[in-house]
């Protein structure tokens, strides 16, 4: 369908649809790509639906029973036809598969430089934490034209972040981190829904993404941060929980040195290797014995029940900041 394909290439035409209730607004770099595939599928579906419906109506009229005793012609089938209507749908569906897969790859791979924002879902609200320390509830401010990555966790049951105008969606699952990324293309306010049923007030678990011009966003960011950055809150927690008695920067502690650790690959006692990412840091805090680094004893106590999801994020951000610091010092 030419309209759909041109939508993806030429953003100006998308205004044609705004205000009509049949298509959602396109407000991210992904929206045009998803819509192009959607229109292609509508074209395919319309063609085959009309083909089948047309044939059925035509046959039903042309070959209607004219005498009560009449029977149909003796036809058993035809190999060529069977092959044709097996192979043609197969080829078409493989085209759709490859197309859908390529869109999905783009959705799954964020660019290198993203603005990271932590999201915690709980019954029935969204909490957003910016690295600089701003906290928001049910509202998320982001700049236009920059890729944004959400690192998401749940405090209770499964939730799902869904922003129709961006064509992105991902479950927010307790016990692990999931990610989505998007790059807004137009300033404005966009609906955010919880798309995974989460109990009584599920349909009230909504919010808005506020996309701002970069200058406005900077103003917003610098406005009133009482608690300091996420990493600094994590640093304080690191002291309060006495993590620093074992995780010391001088390699004299009973636990691994955390400086420069994030993003590295470490060897475990089992001989396997693992990349230190958010999920591994999280697991090591909550369930330290699960994957102990080689050369250390499984003596670390669990913090399960002692730290909230949000505090976990602060700790992770602190551990990340130690790596950034180490990189700067190395230079």
């Amino acid at each position: 369908m030419p309209i759909g394909l041109s939508l993806s290439k030429d953003g100006a035409e998308s205004d044609m649809w705004s205000g009509t209730p049949l298509f959602p607004e396109q407000a991210s770099t992904m929206a045009g790509r998803v819509d192009a595939l959607y229109f292609f599928l509508i074209a395919i579906s319309t063609f085959f639906s009309l083909l089948i419906a047309g044939l059925i109506v035509f046959f039903a009229i042309k070959y209607r029973r004219r005498a009560p005793e009449s029977v149909g012609a003796v036809i058993h089938g035809g190999l060529l036809l069977e092959l044709a209507w097996t192979i043609i749908p197969f080829v078409i569906s493989m085209v759709i598969f490859v197309w859908g897969a390529s869109v999905f790859f783009a959705m799954s791979r964020p660019p290198d430089e993203t603005i990271d924002i932590y999201v915690v879902g709980k019954q029935w609200m969204w909490k957003f934490q910016h690295l600089d320390g701003q906290r928001e509830i049910n509202e998320l401010h982001v700049p236009v034209g920059r890729p944004v990555r959400l690192i998401m966790a749940s405090e209770d049951v499964i939730h799902d972040v869904f922003v129709p105008a961006f064509r992105v969606k991902a479950d927010v699952i307790p016990g692990r981190y999931t990610h989505i990324w998007f790059q807004p293309t137009k300033p404005g306010r966009y609906q955010l829904f919880c798309a995974e049923y989460c109990g009584t007030r599920h349909s009230g678990m909504t919010g808005q993404v506020v996309v701002m011009e970069p200058s406005e966003y900077q103003t917003w960011l610098s406005g009133g941060v009482p608690e300091g950055s996420l990493a600094s809150a994590g640093a304080k927690l690191f002291q309060d929980l006495a993590c620093n008695t074992c995780h010391r920067p001088d390699a004299q502690g009973r636990g691994p040195v955390l400086e420069g650790l994030f993003g590295k690959t470490v060897t475990l006692q089992s001989g396997e290797t693992i990349t230190v990412d958010e999920a591994y840091v999280r697991e090591s805090i909550l369930n330290p014995a699960a994957k102990v680094a080689a050369g250390f004893q499984p003596i670390m106590p669990t913090s399960q029940g002692l730290v909230t999801e949000e505090q976990l994020l602060e700790l992770i951000e602190y551990v990340k900041s130690l790596s950034v610091l180490a990189q700067v010092q190395a230079r």
């Binding site: 209730p21 298509f23 959602p24 998803v34 595939l37 599928l41 579906s45 639906s49 089948i52 044939l55 046959f59 039903a60 070959y63 209607r64 029973r65 004219r66 009560p68 005793e69 009449s70 029977v71 149909g72 036809i75 058993h76 089938g77 035809g78 036809l81 069977e82 209507w85 097996t86 749908p89 569906s93 759709i96 598969f97 859908g100 390529s102 869109v103 999905f104 790859f105 959705m107 799954s108 049951v157 499964i158 869904f162 129709p164 064509r167 992105v168 969606k169 991902a170 479950d171 699952i173 307790p174 016990g175 609906q191 798309a195 049923y197 109990g199 009584t200 599920h202 349909s203 369930n287």
Partner: protein
Amino acid sequence: MPSSTVFMPPRHYLNDGYGIKSWLLTRDHKRIGLLYLAAITLFFFVGGAFAVLIRLELATPAGDLVSDETYNKLFTMHGVMMVFFFLIPSIPATLGNFLVPIMIGAKDLAFPKLNLASWYIYIIGGAFTLYALVAGGVDTGWTFYTPFSTVSSTTNVIPTALGVFITGFSSILTGLNFIVTIHRMRAPGMTWFRMPLFIWSMYATSLIFVLGTPVIAITIALVAVERLFHFGFFDPRLGGDPVLFQHLFWFYSHPAVYIMVLPSMGVVSELVAAFCRKQVFGYSFVAFASLAIAVLGFLVWGHHMFVAGQSVYSALVFSILSFLVAIPSAVKVFNWTATMYRGSISWQTPMLYAIGFIGLFTIGGLTGLFLAAVGLDVHVTDTYFIIAHFHYIMVGGTLMGYLGGLHYWWPKISGRLYPEFLAKLSAGIIFLGFNLTFFPQFVLGYLGMPRRYHAYPPEFQVLNVLSSAGASILGVGYLIPMIYLMWSLRYGRLAGSNPWGAVGLEWTTTSPPPTENFAETPVITSEVYDYSAPLEDHVA
């Protein structure tokens, strides 16, 4: 060639014993089929009443008719009732029970007592679920997703889970019974490739019953154990994995979609052959397509979890397999259409339902391609697009086939004809009402309206009002057949043994058939759907 012998046989399965005991202790597959028919009709109307309330609530954007708690219970109970207690048993337990032995020339199923037991198991499971309803309902959604169902919900999860668990065994026993019957009890001359396509579809369905149902039973049992005893299967705080539940649940529940639609495809093959008076085009392709769907259907469950944090590569594998399972369905649609070419096509009610099925199933199947394409699924999953898609398959597909089959075999079941004009009228009402209800939901879903929402943004209202209006038309469409079919039991014109001039073993015996189905075991001497020879020449 309408039958010239229009009379009510003096002795048939309906007058072979009277009174409640003769029904509740019967071992006759036909009577058990009718017991199921009564039970699933009850569940259909209970589930339908919930649907009416859901659509009434959604006529306005604000959550104003019922509370959010009640709304969540309404869609949960609608799903549980319709999926586990209506759609899954619908065609196999009623028409399948009635027809499988007759269509292959047998006196009964292989295990008549087991057959009766399976009905009682179904009723016990249904009783647990109805108890859960009366005791205050359940709000987990029919999918019972963890950890919500195990740690968060405060409603009657255990009784509902027990109901689903128990009912599963009735499916397993029915499947077992059909498989053994089809293997061992075919009449002389009834070779595998002379079997009606309905039997092939029952065979494929039975395989899924036997292989898939134990998995849902175990999964639901794990939910109950975690909820009661805090064993950590799914709750991450106990060391479990919430997504593991989804894998187990959909390993059964995706094949269950084929449990629902394969029997209906079997019915449609029979209807198209009978009302075109013609051999089904590409008989063996249609038969093997049923088996291909049953096998491939077990390998696509992960497409329900494209946004649930599975790896990119496993998503791609499930995506490509989901496209493959679409091929045999497409093959069937093309073959049915080709069957009409140079047929002698009657426009009687069952054919209208068959045509309705092909049209709606085509739309349901094609929109499945949207969902199999991972990059597009991300946007539309968990929205009304999904709701519309699976209602096109389950209501547009399964229910149209079921109603078409019920009309086609009603003269055989009851010995009487239903009123043709009313039947055509209600088939038309159902087709229109269905499309008005569910087509706007595709648009709503792409706009982004999430499923299971009690209240929604006002810009979605117009489409929701259309949908609710369609639902009220659909409701009327379902009530009319209910009324005239009951009416016809007493007042309908006598049908005679073969009112449609169809071929097939079931039309060689009286309407209604005797308890033992055939006066003497038939010997099949003709190919299936052979309209070149009169029905009398099909058996010796």
